[in-house]
Amino acid sequence: MKKYFLGIDLGSTTSKAVIINEQDEIIGRGITNTRANYMVATEIARLEAIYNARFSILKMKLDDEIKSKPEYKKYIEDIESVFQYLQFKRRLDKLIVQFDESINSTFEGEKKTTIVNFVKTIFNIIAPEIRHEFIFANLGNKNQFFRDIVSERYNKEIAKLGKEYFEPMMLIYDKSITPVENELTEFDFKELIFEALEVLNEKYSYLENTNPEVSDIQFDIEMNILKGNHKQVHESIKEHITFIANMDIHIANMVGTGYGRALLPFPEKSIKSEILCHAFGAHAVFPNTKTVLDIGGQDTKAIQVDSHGLVTSFHMNDRCAAGCGRYLGYIADEFNISLNELGPLASDAKKEVTICSTCTVFAAAEIRELLNVGEERADILAGLHKSIVMRAMSLLARSGGVRNEFTFTGGVARNQAVLKYVTELVRKNYGDDLKINIHTDSIFMGALGGAMFARRSYKD
């Protein structure tokens, strides 16, 4: 039987899981936001990685077909997206039940009736909307978390209600989403995947009768090809799907890391420091890495690595969150926007406003001051992003500077503006010929390192 290895990175804001095979190739990734309940977050990430692994194996099996026939690629992407929707749907159903309970225990009389009706209306709007997005626009590929997807739409809807209902509607939202988020919803892969195939059939037959010119569905080449022959594609893939649904993904060993690693129910030898894991993961992807910068939710780490991927020294931020993801979270709150919008907004800047306060709390005051004197939001944000990166740069300097090659990892690496300043400042301080590595999997480096340690410490 083939052996697989799991790495779990229990971070302060997100939990990541990576599954690798015996050749150190990533075959499964899972990610979820970490709230109060670390155990559930870990489990969700782990299960997600296992589901994802099945899809990866499917893609590997069909590699030749996918290369020669774009419709295969599209079809599999679609199943994955629908599959994610079905998981989402299960949790959404739970949420609706939870809303009922919360309303019952919080409100009475007429107010209660009004709120029940509001909630019903809202879900009647947002549930189909989300379904549509998952199925027709591949929302699943966008890597958003349950809470984010629901919040965004829910907030939009309550904004339309009268002011007096804002507070109570937010109250029951908070009361309902947390328990659902902190509860593990188990899925049966097989059941879900066959259900997904049904939904897909429905999608494609709907497409048959749709004119790309006047449709709200995004048509692309693959989609158009599928329009004529989805039944055939379905027939030829079905057998493979049955295979991956039935196959046993045997996790031979696992290693946990990250901020909350001590909470994982793993034996001591299977818990590794996040510094080691990030470095090892980064080194696996970029074997010439000498310096690693990892900006996570709670801390920033500058790590020096030798030619074996082993850490020779590291520095972490101490007593101050200014250089890390949490700071971005505060800033987003301060501007009343979501974390995902920060980077793009900052990238629109025409100039960078200098932000003097490196302290999170003072920066908030400074922002208000700058807005008062008429500075543009985008320009302020650009300045803030730059100041974060400058903190990271001083940490790098303390750890011995940047050595060639430089690899940037961690959740914050998904922020375009941060990336821009990291590249700019590393080049400026350490030279233009330095190789800078940034990978789409950067947020998974810690979990990858963990999985690699799991493989290396595995004994039959």
């Binding site: 082993l310 850490v311 340690f453």
Partner: protein, 425 residues
């Protein structure tokens, strides 16, 4: 770990020695003995003893207060007087103690100074510290002994002469005046002859960490071992006895293949050997130490145990040249070495004692030790290709000891060492 912790004979001897000195200090006013306040780095206690005076070391009082959980209150009191957050916490702790009646950590009153002997070796704080003491004791004379910094890597004859001149013209006359005794060179020579014996034994003691397992911890236990020489016993027959006994005990451990003794008994398996730079944290000393021995980490050499004297690079006192020896001794003290010399010394320790890693405990409020530590660390990392670690704490300010932070970093550091062993084997 074995349950019972047997008190070694040397520990008992040391306890008695220190208690005796404290008692003598407590009775100083009655017996008419004069008291000299001075510092540990480059402390010329032989000269103080030659005048039959008693030394008091403010840093030692501060660290003792820290270990007995009394420092926080003292520091807060000193801050109320206006001492900033960044001032060396040894200073604030002592100032707090003094304004609270100068009751020493062991509960006995510390007599006021009759002389302030400011030996200035590398740390600028010393100057400011004595300015503060001078304000607290306005009528007490101050003798300044300035030690030239070893900038050019070596001690020139002119430097020695410069110091001898200060001893002759500034320090000795003041000591004669305060003590009422004449300078007696023969007496000083005898005392120095004792010192030289102790130096030899100390070298041998700290060299036993060459063994595997190392029979001692040269940092956490090391600071106890250097207690007597830093606490006024340099050059005394008691010190000779103490160090002989200690050496004997340690050699017994070597012969029996035993590792170091910890507060919880014997350390069973030596997993990592480290060299540590920087003072330890005193307020959480036991917890701090435990983080190491729980992981099987033993410190085979540390720079802090050399603050009272660096013998590793060959320096020895020469009783035939007493004042020159004192001068050279001051110039050789660790805080007076330039950064290159420190790197050299540490690098020799890492190689000689086969360390697996190098760790810096950077002290938030100690400018003297902290300056250059990152540079030292990076040079050692590159030169010896050895894993290095960095943690931060404070001397005696408990507010600056973050257990979780330190633990997290140490765990990562130890895992670094472990992984290295695993992969490179």
């Amino acid at each position: 770990m074995s349950k019972s912790v047997s008190k070694e004979k040397s520990m008992i001897i040391q306890k008695e020695m220190i208690a005796g000195l404290l008692k003598e200090l407590g009775n100083a006013k009655e017996t008419g003995k004069k008291v000299v306040y001075t510092f540990v780095p480059g402390n010329i206690s032989e000269l103080i003893l030659a005048f039959d005076m008693l030394p008091v070391y403010p840093e030692i009082n501060a660290l003792q207060s820290g270990m007995r959980k009394k420092s926080e209150g003292f520091i807060l009191d000193a801050e109320k007087l206006g001492h900033s957050e960044d001032v060396c916490t040894y200073v604030k702790c002592d100032v707090g103690m003094m304004i609270n009646g100068n009751i020493g950590p062991s509960g006995e009153k510390i007599p006021a100074p009759d002389l302030l002997l400011l030996s200035y070796t590398g740390c600028f704080t010393f100057m400011k510290w004595f300015e503060t003491l001078k304000r607290l004791y306005p009528n007490v004379p101050v003798a300044l002994l300035h030690t030239p910094y070893q900038e050019g890597h070596k001690i020139t004859p002119e430097m020695t002469q410069y110091m001898v001149k200060q001893l002759k013209e500034e320090v000795i006359p003041k000591m004669e005046k305060v003590s009422g005794n004449k300078y007696d060179e023969e007496k000083l020579k005898k005392i120095l002859a004792n010192s030289s014996k102790v130096e030899e034994t100390i070298i041998k003691i700290f060299d036993t960490t060459k063994n595997r397992p190392s029979p001692i911890d040269a940092y956490f236990a090391g600071v106890y071992y250097i207690g007597p020489i830093n606490n006024g016993f340099r050059g005394t027959p008691e010190a000779i006895d103490y160090y002989n006994e200690l050496y004997k005990e340690i050699m017994d451990r070597v012969h029996n293949g035993l590792g170091p003794i910890t507060p919880e008994g014997e350390m069973e398996k030596e997993r990592f050997r480290l060299v540590v730079e920087g003072p330890p944290n005193w307020t959480h000393f036991r917890e701090f130490w435990k983080l190491f021995y729980d992981m099987g980490a033993v410190i085979v050499a540390s720079s802090y145990t050399k603050v009272g004297g660096v013998y590793d690079m060959g320096f020895r006192v020469n009783p035939d040249k007493p004042l020159e020896s004192l001068a050279d001794y001051c110039m050789n003290c660790y805080t007076n070495l330039n950064l290159e010399q420190r790197v050299e010394l540490l690098s020799k320790c890492i190689t000689d004692y086969h360390a697996d890693g190098f760790l810096v405990n950077s002290i938030k409020s100690c400018n003297s030790f902290s300056a250059g530590q990152l540079m030292i660390m990076q040079q050692l990392e590159r030169r010896l290709e050895i894993p290095v670690g960095f943690i931060e704490s404070d001397l005696v300010d408990p507010r600056y000891f973050s257990y979780a932070n330190i633990k997290n970093r140490l765990e990562s550091f130890f895992q670094m060492l472990e992984q290295r062993k695993l992969i490179l084997e």
